[in-house]
């Protein structure tokens, strides 16, 4: 027994067949397949399927399996969560080391924090939490929801799970309390200095690096150059005016009032520096509507462009005769998508009115077509405005960077 080293378990996803490595065997309870997004039961030796999925997965900024040293300990990224509160979104990485257990690496609004589950209970005094002689001031409670999850976790995790959360802060340290019906868990979080995480996990450009006035100036100049190139390209494109082209198409079958369906359509190859992409939905709805969410996700960089649309059609008759309204074929425009190889992630949900006006379709077919480089009139103006936003933003950053530390780290 002593000569048998502990090892990650190599298994296969029962839904899609992709290889799955369980890095913390014995501790991990849930695994979300990195290929198809299915939720698997790691407490079961054969990795049974809990929830089947074919969702496209956002790839975390720090890939699963990455290792980096924080606080003098080497950590491996084993899980990734995207979560949102009432008016904030953040990312959580679950870090693991076999001798030191788990940590949480939190990325919120450009800042990074390292968290550890508390093994002792803070004492609550009104809205203040007391721990180790320090007083932490509490925020208003808010709901924290899991929006996306991939990797492995030592608890049962699922998208949509919502807990009541309260943050207590004292300078660069804070406590987070999350309550569900069964238990309340406390995590202590410490702010990490800018650049720490990028350096630890070998990411470029360094994450969490505060920008100086110099780089703000450089960014401004770069953005002007990019905008100028963009205008030139737009003019060239306007002259050449390539025809629009259907590059991918797929049909989804939705059940009214049924669950949302997620479909990945791709690849969408953008060879030019920047192309317009239009997503056209075609459906036959009657007194029903289909909510469509689109995300164009670049495969390598995971850069996302999002849009949404509603396909709807209502008809009936009243004193003025028959009426109808709605658009069964909404089109959504991504005006300037940079060069790259993209997947279009479509999330669709069909709804219908209840009662006597209710639709009664058993199912709704939605055909999604992806068209590259469409109509140029309004598009040109729109693209020109989009191009102007970069320099305008950078100019504002340049102006504001003189007046204090810059917290912005998105790039």
């Amino acid at each position: 027994m002593k000569d048998d080293p502990g090892a990650p378990r190599a298994l296969t996803c029962p839904n899609c067949g992709a290889p799955i490595i369980v890095r913390a065997a014995g501790l991990t309870v849930s695994v979300i397949c990195g290929n198809c997004g299915s939720t698997l039961d790691a407490a079961d030796p054969v990795l049974t399927l809990i929830e089947r999925s074919n969702a496209a997965l956002a790839r975390p900024l720090i890939p699963l399996g990455s290792r980096g040293s924080l606080d003098g300990i080497e950590w491996e990224v084993v899980g990734y969560l995207e979560r949102s509160g009432d008016d904030v979104e953040w990312e959580e990485y679950l870090l693991f080391n076999p001798w030191s257990g788990y940590r949480f690496l939190i990325h919120v609004e450009g800042n990074w924090r390292l968290g550890q589950a508390l093994d002792r209970l803070p004492r609550l005094d009104g809205g203040t939490a007391l721990l180790d002689g320090d007083a932490y001031r509490g925020s208003d409670p808010y709901n924290a929801r899991v929006d996306f999850v991939v990797g492995e976790f030592y608890w049962r995790v699922s998208v949509g799970e919502t807990v009541a959360a309260t943050d207590y802060s004292a300078g660069g340290t804070s406590l987070s309390r999350e309550d569900n019906a069964q238990e309340s868990s406390w995590t202590q979080l410490k702010d990490l200095p800018p650049g720490t995480v990028g350096k630890a996990f070998g990411l470029t450009p360094p994450l969490g690096a505060g920008k100086t006035a110099n780089t703000a100036w450089r960014d401004f100049v770069h953005s002007l150059i990019i905008a100028a190139i963009g205008f030139a390209a737009l003019l060239v494109v306007l002259v050449a005016a390539p025809a629009s082209q259907l590059i991918a198409q797929d049909t989804l079958l939705l059940e009214p009032e049924g669950p949302a369906i997620t479909r990945v359509i791709g690849p969408v190859e953008i060879q030019r520096r920047s192309s317009a992409v239009e997503v056209r939905a075609t459906t036959e709805v009657e007194n029903a509507w289909v909510d469509l969410g689109y995300a164009l996700v670049e495969r390598r960089t995971q850069q996302r462009f999002e849009a949404s649309a509603t396909a709807e059609y209502y008809s009936g008759s009243d004193a003025d005769g028959n009426w109808s309204e709605g658009d069964k074929r909404p089109a959504s425009l991504f005006a300037s998508i940079p060069r790259g190889s993209y997947d279009l992630v479509v999330e669709a949900r069909a709804k219908q009115w209840g009662g006597s006006f209710g639709g009664s379709q058993p199912s709704v077919a939605v055909t999604i077509g992806i068209v590259r480089d469409t109509g140029f009139g309004g598009l040109f103006l729109f693209a020109a405005i989009m191009l102007a936003i970069g320099p305008a933003w950078r100019a504002w950053r340049l102006y504001s960077s003189g007046a204090g530390p810059d917290r912005d780290t998105t790039w």
Binding site: K2, P5, A7, G26, V29, A43, P45, F96, W99, E183
Partner: protein
């Protein structure tokens, strides 16, 4: 004491004086010792592989007392049909012949020892199966705690020397508690017996551990070298 397994004849060694049960490494019989008499109580289930750096034979020091891990029980807890989690309790035999438990759960470690508690309401509540809610306060042996969970736990498998037989599927009701300064306790009900354990959260790096298990792909940290 070294003797032969009454089932398969393999050599078995009791490292403790006081522990009454050992699982034969070879045939996995659970053997009860009563004086010099050995009897077979059944077969212990195998503990599924985990990535733990601990193993039977790992030695360490806690509060100046040296110990060796000589047995383990793997537990799980469920909600309905679904297993919600598992943890390992390592039996630590101290140099003075006493024993404690090094529990390994969710990447954290607790070292506890059984105490003879009497009179605390929490003992009665557990004995009578009264509903206990996480977050509620509970006093045990003069200390105040808050309940973190109260739920049934089931034996998955066992190895080595233990104070009791732990056949697969055996269920206890377990209530875990923590305080505000790293102290922890648990009260368990097994059949009609209620037992109490108190101790602390510990970091492996503070236990001067030796003879740790190697883990593929992970060089041991500096404190575990040697």
């Amino acid at each position: 004491m070294t003797t032969l397994c009454p089932n398969c004849g393999a050599e078995i060694t009791f490292r403790s004086i006081g522990l009454s049960v050992i699982v034969c490494d070879f045939c996995r019989s659970t053997i009860l010792r009563s004086g010099d008499v050995l009897s077979i109580m059944g077969t212990a289930a195998t503990v599924p592989d985990t990535i733990s750096p601990l193993q039977i034979g790992t030695t360490g020091v806690h509060n100046g007392a040296s110990f060796e891990l000589i047995g383990r029980v793997r537990w799980s807890w469920s909600e309905g049909e679904q297993i919600m989690g598992g943890w390992t309790e390592w039996l630590a035999l101290f140099a003075d012949g006493s024993h404690g438990w090094l529990a390994e759960a969710m990447g954290r470690y607790m070292l506890t020892r059984r105490i003879d508690a009497v009179g605390d309401p929490i003992l009665k509540a557990v004995a009578w199966g009264e509903p206990l809610t996480p977050g509620d306060g509970a006093d045990l042996a003069g200390s105040s705690y808050a309940i973190t969970d109260a739920r049934p736990a089931t034996v998955v498998g066992s190895d080595g020397e233990l104070p009791f037989a732990a056949p697969k599927g055996e269920t206890v009701f377990s209530v875990d508690m923590i305080d505000g300064a790293g102290g922890c306790a648990s009260v368990q009900k097994h059949g009609d017996n209620v037992s109490a354990y108190v101790g602390r959260y510990v970091a492996l790096s503070d236990l001067q551990l030796r003879n740790l298990r190697k883990i593929e792909g992970w060089p041991p940290p500096a404190w575990a070298a040697a």
